[in-house]
């Protein structure tokens, strides 16, 4: 009987050991988790999340990362700083993600940064253009920023217009009129632009955006009309895009260059005949698929998966976000933080946005990705790239006629 008890105990111990090993192995080989915070109620966040899922599906179909499945967990920030910070807490403590990704609004991100500092996980962020954010993340070696900062964007527009004027002598810009929405976004953009475009004679005035209860732009359009500028630039939101065009035509205001600079354009803007010739600033246009195989592959994949076209540059940015992180994990061969940081620093990723993404120093941080935006123009209902010339998909149409 004693011998039988020993055998039974031994068998039991062996079974427990086997189960324990299996459990441990399973725990070590679980999915690699990326935690993303995005404004899902906005097209930027919604499409970035979809693009991330597309990237995850592609990566898992190709065998995953380091032999493990990849998973992205997305929480809605609802454009609320407190909710965005709470999302970081949840992703870190409940979902136990390995890396933070995502992002869109600077205001929300400023609220998240103290929480990110609590966990010090590797963070690769596609949102937040405000240089206030750059100040807040200064010195954080685990923080990587993909979206160009506001001053980088401004500098890219200066470089772009200078290049366009040189390439196309018919286009000359001496005087600019800036119509900016009277909130922090518009006012900040205008102030930054004054510094960047010091070679122009700049005149500016504010208006109340439709997003904040406005919607009648005729007063400021008439002020601009009186100044007869070479370029008219409005800085507002997508809800201003078509009404401001309509009201400009209504009063007969057609400056040679009509530029819109909202964070996003309405989905149906291109359908309007008034869109013809309107200049836009952005990081990407669908037409880049014509000059970039990576962009074409992303475009085809997104449409195949969702039966809709990506309409905002946050879609290819979301896709870029996942691939940059995954390629770094593959290079590092581990999720260990220091190795991952080294691997991210070695990033050279050909993005569907067009450029090859690398991380270099900006004014205050060591890990800045994209350095600027592109100058686009609506032509025949589509956004075309007119600068940088290496991604150009069309020649500029000049002057703007409003028809």
């Amino acid at each position: 009987m004693f011998a039988g008890s020993k055998i039974a105990r031994g068998t039991l111990l062996a079974v427990v050991a086997v189960f324990g090993l299996v459990f441990l192995a399973g725990a070590q080989e679980g999915a690699i988790k990326l935690g993303a915070v995005l404004p899902l109620g906005d097209i930027t966040g919604a499409q970035a999340a979809k693009a991330m899922e597309l990237a995850v599906d592609e990566i898992n179909a190709a065998g995953g990362v380091l032999g493990r499945e990849l998973e992205v967990i997305v929480i809605d920030s609802e454009f609320d700083a407190a909710k965005g910070a709470a999302a970081i807490d949840r992703l870190a403590t409940v979902d136990e993600v390995d890396i933070f990704i995502g992002g869109m609004s600077s205001g929300v991100h400023l609220g998240q940064i103290p929480t990110l500092k609590k966990y010090e996980k590797v963070t690769v962020w596609i949102g937040a253009a405000s240089s206030l954010v750059e100040e807040a993340v200064q010195g954080l070696d685990w923080y990587f920023h993909i979206h160009p900062w506001d001053y980088l964007q401004g500098q890219s527009y200066v470089d772009g217009w200078a290049a366009i004027e040189e390439e196309y002598p018919l286009i000359t810009i001496d005087k600019a009129f800036w119509a900016y929405e009277d909130g922090a976004f518009g006012t900040g953009s205008y102030q930054g632009s004054l510094i960047a475009h010091e070679d122009w004679e700049n005149i500016g005035d504010s208006f109340t955006s439709a997003a904040l209860g406005g919607g009648d732009y005729r007063s400021i359009l008439r002020l601009a009309q009186e100044e007869d500028p070479d370029i008219f630039i409005w800085v507002g939101y997508g809800s201003d895009a078509l009404p401001i065009m309509e009201q400009a035509i209504e009063i007969g205001f057609t400056p040679p260059l009509f530029v819109g600079s909202p964070p996003g354009w309405p989905a149906d803007f291109g359908e309007s005949p008034l869109a013809e010739g309107v200049i836009a600033y952005g990081m990407w246009a669908p037409s880049i698929s014509n000059v970039s195989a990576v962009s074409q592959a992303f475009w085809d994949g997104y449409i195949a998966m969702y039966d809709e076209e990506p309409a905002t540059y946050f879609a290819p940015l979301g896709y870029t976000n996942v691939y940059v992180v995954v390629e770094a994990i593959e290079r590092a061969g581990t999720l260990e933080k220091e190795a991952l940081i080294d691997a991210l620093e070695a990033t050279e990723y050909e993005s569907p946005v067009g450029e090859t993404l690398t991380f270099t120093a900006s004014n205050l941080i060591d890990h800045q990705g994209f350095q600027g935006q592109k100058i686009l123009q609506w032509q025949d209902g589509e956004q075309q790239v007119i600068w940088p010339f290496e991604f150009a998909t069309a020649l500029p149409r000049y002057p703007f006629t409003g028809r």
């Binding site: 208006f207 209860g213 009648d216 005729r218 008439r222 002020l223 309509e246 209504e250 309405p266």
Partner: protein
Amino acid sequence: MTLLGRLGHRKVQLALGALAAVVLLLLWKPYALIEGVQRGGLYALIALPMALILGIVGIINLAHGEFMMLGAYFAYILFRSAGMDPLVAILPALGAFAILGALTYILTIRRALKAPELNQLLLTFGLAMMASQFANLLWTSQPYKPSLMYVYSSMRVGGLTFGSYAFVYVAAALALLVGLLLFLRRTRLGKAALAVGQNPRGAKLVGIDVNRTYLLIFTLAIALIGAIGAMFLTRHSVFPSVGSSYTMKSFCLIAMAGIGNLVGIVWGGLALGVAEALVSSFRGYGGWADVVFFAVLVAVIMGRSYWMRRLTA
């Protein structure tokens, strides 16, 4: 009464003052006058249905702008799916929002009529939040607007070039005002509604079905604001939060004109629209338009309080 006697009459003085202001603006800032009247027409048009509910049913509908927002989405969906012009969509919007208004009243408003006013405010505020969140879930915060050529039509008078379409808001506000006044003063139901608005208990005593009157007025008001949403869409983008600022402006107009003063709402709307446009016409003061709106409101309310005190004294 002699001419001098007539000139001493307050209303005549106000009318002459308004005429002088119009002539001055026409000579000095003609575009501020024209575009301000168009802007004010929109404010008055949106405010009138809210005044109907406040004056008769006695509650402040904080979801007023959200019903307009839903009306705009309704018209946009018809534009996209059936190619229906938003101005044509006014008719189906009237029907659809009459049903929505009736359901809203039966399921929520009716049950809060005897509640404290704060509870009523919270109820309509809750409806507003539900509506905007519902819209956000369905359509996200992406703005939508149909491209319509006629909205940027313009006309030339003398040396002035200005938009002509936006006068439709002024015409609609005047038409709605006349329609409501005729309804309230010349129809049996309208007179009953006025009676209920003035004294619900007394109205009940004389045999008026108060609850049915509330239901009909609320339904009518929501039907109207839903249809106005379709008109709104012709010149404005629609997105979930577009209505909230118009709720505030409508309430301010009603406060300025006085509850039940539909004519005052139209005059007030026009005056505020012109004041906003005038301020915006000066370089550097574009952001002051909202300040002017509420400053005029405060000034009128204080002025009326002072005048009432003098009269009673």
